[in-house]
């Protein structure tokens, strides 16, 4: 047996783990090698001193230690949170619904900003007024457009024309935000014609004819028919 192997087996020998043959070899080397014998003796001496110095183990306060352990491992009562009252699927559904509603509201806001909504559009009161106004205006325009006789061409008194003009201004104010460019142009033409009517010199036949020509030029009888009270487009305004 070599010294290195001997040293490898010292602890196994101390543990009584060597086979008899190996144990005999170990003992033989111990007798024949003074250095290994010295090493073995020194280890035994140190080990004996350590064992002697191990000392007794005092008795601690077992109960106090157990109380601390028990307190540390005891399950702590969990405070119930508000969301524990509802099942998770209900919370998820409510969250999804809220998200859906907010999404729709946001999309509506993006597609139809409040400023885009014209005063007349979708306003039943405005549509009703426009229908009434055009129904009043249509016969007047037709009468002037077809008037050839100056005497018969002044059926309307100035006061009535002024009232129509005033109503027109109100209508124009309401239609300012409208997307109907045709309606706005029509109202502009009507305004021009009514102003001519207010300032018309009814004693002069050529003035009356010129007004009739203006009405025809602007195409007001045709346009008023297009925007007549029964027309669906007007109802949508």
């Amino acid at each position: 047996m070599k010294c290195k192997e001997f040293r490898d087996l010292i602890f196994s020998c101390q543990d009584g783990m060597l086979a008899p043959v190996k144990n005999a070899e170990f003992a033989g080397h111990l007798r024949s090698c003074p250095a290994c014998a010295e090493e073995f003796a020194a280890l035994a001496k140190t080990g004996a001193l350590l064992a002697e110095g191990a000392g007794d183990v005092p008795v601690p306060d077992w109960d106090r230690s157990w109380r601390r352990i028990a307190a540390a491992v005891a399950p702590r009562p969990r405070r119930r949170a508000a969301w524990d009252l509802f099942p998770r699927w209900a919370l998820a559904a409510a969250g999804f619904l809220a998200f859906f509603i907010l999404g729709i509201a946001f999309a509506r806001l993006q597609l139809f900003p409040p400023g885009d909504s014209p005063a007349g559009t979708g306003d039943p009161a405005f549509a009703f007024t426009a229908r009434d106004y055009f129904s009043l205006l249509q016969p007047v325009m037709a009468e002037y457009a077809n008037a050839q006789d100056p005497g018969a061409a002044a059926p309307e008194d100035v006061q009535r024309v002024r009232r129509l003009l005033n109503d027109l201004y109100l209508l124009k104010m309401r239609a300012e935000g409208s997307r109907e460019r045709g309606l706005q142009l029509l109202l502009g033409d009507i305004e021009l014609v009514l102003l001519e009517m207010v300032h018309l010199d009814r004693s002069r036949p050529e003035s009356v004819r010129r007004l009739g020509a203006l009405i025809q030029e602007k195409g007001l009888p045709m346009k008023l028919r297009v925007f007549n009270p029964d027309n669906r487009k007007l109802t949508q305004i």
Partner: protein, 188 residues
């Protein structure tokens, strides 16, 4: 692990305080002995004892029960690690006062020996403590498991989770270091 202990472990896994207390009573002496001989003072040894059981009970839920005898080995391994961690933390603190007081505490529990014998025992224990103080936490633990707890090399290797060769090598180095110190003291 015997059937009875297996049942206690199973109950402790479910948080049964009676089962935990039973396991504590079965293993407390062995663990406190290890802890006390390692740190050499009662308060620290009690801390190690408590830490060991708290860690064991808290992590017991995640352990499988199919390993025979696992609990005693497992909790002893926890105790070894707790003791080494504790020692590393407290290494530079002076615990001489605690040590002296603990020897007095031991004396009160034992039959009174002769004064000469008792003085000699104290002196040897004091010298051993001084010798062990120079070792690293791991070498100190290996020496203690070998010479105080009388464990075999394979048992120490299992507890520390390393090879037997590694344990032998470190034990040789530790013993050589102790011997040099002893010779120096004797020479002085």
């Amino acid at each position: 692990m015997n059937i009875q202990e297996e049942n206690w472990v199973a109950l402790a896994r479910e948080g049964d305080p009676r089962a935990m207390h039973e396991l504590y009573e079965r293993h407390r002496s062995r663990i406190f002995s290890l802890a006390y001989r390692y740190v050499r003072n009662i308060p620290d040894a009690e801390d190690i004892l408590q830490d060991t059981f708290i860690k064991a009970f808290r992590s017991l839920k995640n352990r499988a029960l199919d390993d025979d005898g696992f609990f005693s080995t497992w909790i002893y391994r926890i105790a070894v690690n707790c003791a080494m961690d504790h020692f590393r933390r407290r290494r530079h603190e002076d615990v001489d006062g605690d040590w002296q007081r603990d020897f007095l505490a031991v004396d009160e529990t034992r039959a009174a020996p002769s004064p000469e014998r008792e003085y000699q025992r104290h002196e040897v224990a004091f010298q051993v403590r001084r010798l062990l103080d120079g070792l690293t936490a791991r070498k100190r633990m290996i020496v203690q498991l070998r010479h105080f707890q009388q464990l075999k090399i394979d048992e120490i290797a299992e507890l520390l989770g390393c090879s037997q060769g590694s344990v032998k090598k470190q034990l040789f180095l530790a013993m050589a270091q102790l011997r040099v110190k002893m010779d120096a003291r004797c020479g002085g």
